[in-house]
Symmetry: C2
Subunit: 216 residues, 2 copies
DNA sequence: GCTCGTCCGTACGCTTCCGTACGGTCACCA
DNA sequence: TGGTGACCGTACGGAAGCGTACGGACGAGC
């Protein structure tokens, strides 16, 4: 819905406007004429910068892919501790999830290969990165990968359901659930210190409870 | 793609054909003329049975909703043990997930209220049912609900990613991951017998491993 | 065998969108 | 200050799909 600021439009302007349309209504909403109207321009401008609608969709998808991989990973590079990286990723990831309507829209188009390719790449990079962090925490490569896949499932599922039924994902419930996930799938296999730290800070939490019951 | 069998078509015929279109290409693929062609009929027939395209989409959605709630639950009623019910649900649920392209297609249309309503109902019934089973296993209502939500996340995420990258979900990996989920989120909080049984049957598994490390 | 209601085909207008053709505008540079 | 090329608007043709109008076929009941 942005209006044109300067007199001239760049391909980037069109791609960003297309990304907004993508977030609103999926691939089918990336239509040249409505986007042109939203930009305060006409098709004459569009077909100067792009060959056809297809290339506009691909440009928008590229923008999205980059924001979901490189940008996120670069942002996490500042955090030295892999456990903390995972915490931030789980937290902000799920926090950011509901707002990422583009991904929701993309998950929808089973028959659109360009979107499929990018989703696949994003998923693989996510899982690879998660597995690396888990290995750094002491999990074997095989265990790390299985757990990374499960975390990716949780991420996607949470995003979808948060969008469907926001009540499921209020802040408190989300914190509780994140804690369960952390204890159940992430917590280092041989690092009882961290677990004790968390249990100490939150003595009635799930971890302390399940640990107790397991020792009983 | 079914052809017309008898001379006359029923609304049910149209709804089922629409459901197939829904599975293939999402809501936007539910178009009157193509479906009429697939049925070997024309729009003249369609507009006799339905007021407009909208009502056809809703009929298809109703068909889907029923198959995802009542039908599944009724099928599980035959299993007496709640733990076994959950095992079957996790197993066949994830097994059946990748084939359920309708749900994938529906998750895609954030801006379509009729689909949203039904997805919400399905999600809530799923979570409620899962929570009931978990309570029957000894979890408190609050814990059962959090875990049920997480399992629903896993279900949806698995379905999505299995569709995206089938290699992530080969049978072996899926079995391993299901076991991790079972141990981490489901296994009864006070029932160490079941855990021991599973550990005995699969001594090098994740549960035995993490249990050992937790006792160390 | 006639009638009537059910069911379906054909034909049409309307809208939305894609892509093309072509002419106009404006900055910049020689 | 005239020209050039980047940029954009207008106008058009075509395709796909929605919904309507209307007429024909066909079986059930009288």
């Amino acid at each position: 819905m942005r209006k044109r600021t300067a007199g001239r439009l760049t391909p980037r302007d069109w791609a960003e406007a297309a990304l907004e349309a993508l977030a609103r209504g999926g691939v089918e909403a990336v239509a040249v004429e409505p986007i042109a109207a939203a930009l305060g321009a006409t098709k004459g401008s569009f077909y100067w910068h792009f060959a056809n609608r297809e290339s506009l969709v691909e440009a928008a998808l590229d923008l999205w892919e980059q924001s979901r991989t490189d940008d996120v990973i670069r942002q996490l590079e500042g955090i030295p501790d892999p456990a903390e990286r995972l915490r931030v990723l789980i937290g902000t990831g799920i926090e950011l999830g509901p707002t990422d309507r583009v991904e929701i829209a993309l998950l929808a188009n089973p028959g659109y290969p360009p979107a499929l390719r990018r989703m696949r790449r994003v998923a693989q990079r996510r899982i690879g990165y998660l597995a690396d962090q888990l290995q750094a925490l002491g999990w074997t490569p095989a265990e790390a990968r299985d757990r990374a896949v499960l975390i990716a499932y949780l991420y996607v599922g949470n995003m979808q359901l948060a969008h469907l039924a926001p009540r499921l994902v209020d802040a408190r419930a989300h914190r509780r659930q994140a804690e369960i996930v952390y204890d159940a799938l992430i917590a280092a296999p041989r690092d009882e210190h961290a677990a004790a730290r968390r249990s100490g800070a939150r003595p009635t939490g799930a971890r302390a409870r399940s640990a107790r019951s397991r020792r009983a």
